[in-house]
């Protein structure tokens, strides 16, 4: 028990680090005038969702099932009954901590779609409502005792359905309501810092070992399988993305390498403890190539999913979840409890369950996100004014600028009403 607890505590910290990693992965891709807002949307999720999680989110996800659709939010309100040093912590406090990180990053993933334009308050309102109405129930469907997807027997080891498809569909629903960035797609919106993007992708990969191998809930052979598959598929996806770029665009890019890594991580997430090496290679390679192509869909259909949350997370989540119907193998699952996919002689049932579960989550999340988008727009306005957006959302929403390397932008204490200015004046008077 102690070994398992140690690994799950470690994994929880690893998964928390994914969100700052995601913040930099996304932050490097936006323009320099909106990088702080992107980091803040991710950190905002760490603040807000953690609080919601311990107050009622955990209970809504893992409480006693109410009709297989959500856990009883009052059963463990404020973690009541769980704050005890007795018993197995991986079924108590450590489980709460580990799964809190999943809720945080799932909401943060959506931020990439609404870069540069969404009011910070509107984002927090959306994030809190979406977590409550979509993430907590959907995580219950997939992982809660008695949740309908779990009962049905569809597979989602670490969150291809509950996290990635869910967040990707929400991103699509939200951007359709929120609208395009001013000037998109005519104006260039180049990434302002690709080293941030690479750094963020590296941190994501590192943290993802906790996400996938931690989901074994034990320091055992299943965790080992999940871990090595998180290497195999991710590596294959990076190569797949770069190969497609080399053939289509002429050059393999660093943004492509970072994006391929994330696409592979997304796709292997539901499958990491259910496939062998060949399955992981297939999932990774296909996710790398298909996601690299799918990021172009937004130009064809005219939705401004700014940082390709749909192209990477929705498409990658669908690929990993649905491919399990083909490449799942019982040979890697202990105690003969595994199921085989089609190519290992399994029945078509598994594929059917995989498709049904992921499609229902996609439709539910997308529709509720769009409805919440309208609601948030009505209450807060949703977006900053076009002038503020053009000048930069960092200044408009946070009264800060990210980069002032040589101090060349200037700045002095303002005269009116500022505590700093008053203190500075007093100090000067006392010196003279």
């Amino acid at each position: 028990m102690e070994g398992n607890t140690a690994w799950l505590l470690t994994s929880s910290a690893l998964v928390l680090l994914m969100t700052p990693g995601l913040a930099f992965f996304y932050g490097g891709m936006v323009r320099s005038k909106s990088v702080l807002n992107m980091l803040m949307m991710c950190f905002g999720s760490m603040g807000l969702i953690s609080v919601l999680w311990v107050v009622y989110g955990y209970s809504m996800t893992y409480g006693e099932t109410v009709g297989s659709v959500l856990g009883n939010p009052f059963e463990m309100l404020g973690l009541s009954g769980l704050m005890t040093p007795e018993g197995d912590p991986t079924a108590g406090t450590v489980d709460v901590a580990f799964q809190a990180m999943f809720a945080i990053i799932t909401v943060a993933l959506i931020a990439g779609a609404v870069a540069d334009r969404m009011k910070f308050g509107a984002w927090l309102l959306f994030g809190g409502l979406w977590a409550t109405l979509v993430y907590f129930p959907v995580a219950h469907w997939v992982w809660g005792t008695g949740g309908w997807i779990d009962e049905m027997g569809a597979l989602d080891f670490a969150g291809g359905t509950a996290v990635h498809t869910n967040a990707g569909a929400a991103a699509l629903g939200l951007v359709l309501v929120l609208g395009k960035r001013a000037g998109w797609p005519k104006e260039p919106m180049k990434p302002h810092n690709l080293p941030y993007v690479m750094l963020g992708a590296g941190l994501l990969w590192f943290g993802w070992f906790g996400f996938n191998a931690g989901s074994a809930y034990a320091a055992d052979g299943v965790a080992g399988i999940a871990f090595i598959n998180t290497v195999t598929a991710t590596a294959a996806a990076m190569l797949g993305w770069l190969l497609l770029e080399r053939v289509r665009d002429g050059k393999p890019t660093s943004l492509g390498a970072a994006s391929g890594v994330v696409a592979g991580l997304v796709a292997i997430t539901p499958a990491c403890a259910y496939v062998d090496t060949w399955g992981a290679l297939a999932i990774g390679a296909i996710a790398g190539v298909v996601c690299a192509a799918a990021v172009g869909l937004k130009y064809r259909f005219g939705y401004d999913d700014s940082l390709d949350v749909v192209g990477v997370h929705l498409v990658g989540g669908l690929i990993g979840t649905i491919m399990l119907g083909f490449v799942a193998t019982a040979s890697v699952v202990p105690d003969g409890e595994g199921v085989d996919g089609l190519i290992y002689g399994g029945s078509i049932d598994l594929l059917g369950k995989q498709v049904l579960s992921v499609v229902v989550v996609m439709i539910y999340s997308g529709i509720i996100a769009a409805v919440l988008g309208f609601l948030v727009k009505a209450v807060t306005g949703g977006r900053v004014s076009t002038e503020d957006e053009v000048a930069g959302i960092d200044e408009a929403e946070h009264a800060e600028s990210a980069y002032d390397v040589a101090g060349g932008r200037g700045g002095r204490p303002t005269s009116a009403g500022s505590g700093v200015a008053n203190s500075a004046r007093k100090l000067e008077e006392s010196n003279s």
Binding site: P185, P188, D249, G250, K251, G256, A292, V295, Y299
Partner: protein, 112 residues
């Protein structure tokens, strides 16, 4: 006095600086600039989206010298920045009315 302004390829800066140092030029100002001439820009690709980037990164080197030193400075800069390929840059000369050394208040050629 003259202000000599040179737009050069960034990697030639160190050669330009040492050529000027050998002439006895005691100071210069360098800034990162972008622009285009006959070299034009280039294409960048991000997740398959192609961008025509019109402006090329260059350095601007500014040196103030007395009238007698102008030709030598031009030759030194142009020689050190020369690669023979398109995009080597430009050097131009403008007249300077006066110069003040802030520390001492000296004016004109004494301030150089």
């Amino acid at each position: 006095m003259k202000l000599i302004t040179a737009i050069i390829k960034p990697f030639t800066l160190d050669d330009v600086r040492s050529a000027l140092e050998q002439l006895g030029v005691l100071g210069m100002t360098v800034s990162e600039v972008q622009g285009y001439g006959r070299q034009k820009g280039h294409t960048e690709i991000y997740r398959g989206a192609e961008y025509a980037v019109d402006f090329v990164a260059k350095l601007k080197v500014e040196v103030v010298t007395d009238d007698a030193g102008v030709d030598k400075v031009i030759e030194a800069v142009a020689g050190a920045a020369h690669t023979g390929k398109i995009g080597d840059g430009k050097v131009w000369v403008t007249s300077v009315d006066t110069v003040v050394r802030v520390r001492t208040g000296e004016r004109g050629a004494d301030a150089l």
